[in-house]
Homo-oligomer: 116 residues x 2
């Protein structure tokens, strides 16, 4: 089997494996909060990694997406050569009701305060 024909599937925790501590850690970074906020606004649309306007290097960007995926906050799938990202909103809302929305609102409040 060559690399070209091998399906590239990335590891994700199942819903039952998602831990609150991991989700909070994933959200405890300004760049990752921005990625998650952008995804929430996309309302379930798949977004490529390059969609996000982030002030970091490519390898740091990859790292942030991996932390989000491995904690269960996002799902990453390959569509051809592009890695697409989507928020695992149903899983997070089922496991920790209100958490994602509360954090997103807190992010907005903090950003608004900074811009004052």
């Amino acid at each position: 089997m060559t690399t070209a024909t091998k399906a590239r599937v990335l590891d994700h925790p199942s819903r039952a494996e998602i831990r609150l501590e991991g989700v909070l850690h994933a959200l405890s970074d300004a760049v990752r909060l921005r990625i998650v906020s952008d995804m929430a606004r996309a309302d379930g649309a798949e977004l490529s990694c390059s969609f996000f306007d982030l002030p970091v290097t490519k390898s740091t960007r990859t790292h942030h997406f991996r932390v989000l995926r491995e904690s269960g906050v996002i799902e990453q799938v390959y569509r051809g050569t592009a890695k697409m990202n989507v928020l695992r909103r149903d899983d997070l809302d089922a496991l920790f009701p209100g958490l994602l929305d509360t954090v997103l609102r807190a992010t907005e409040v903090q950003d608004a305060r900074r811009d004052d």
Copy 2:
């Protein structure tokens, strides 16, 4: 001035200095979530560090309390030789409405699932 007469005051961020990322990081650990849950149940009462039944060494315990204090989640004050702890609920609720309660509820949900 001798050490004995010098008031020992610990550094805390002001309300305006508290950052969402720092608070989420402080909460992204099972031991610290347990400390914060116990404090929330104490409803504003000052609790000594030794009050908490934690499966960690004394130095790790001290580290966890420091992370909580430096992020603005708790206030630590000396009463004689005892270091007392209290949740900064008013500050957190004012800055990030609903965040603390949502995280505490998520902790309970996760603990209940583990005990099933």
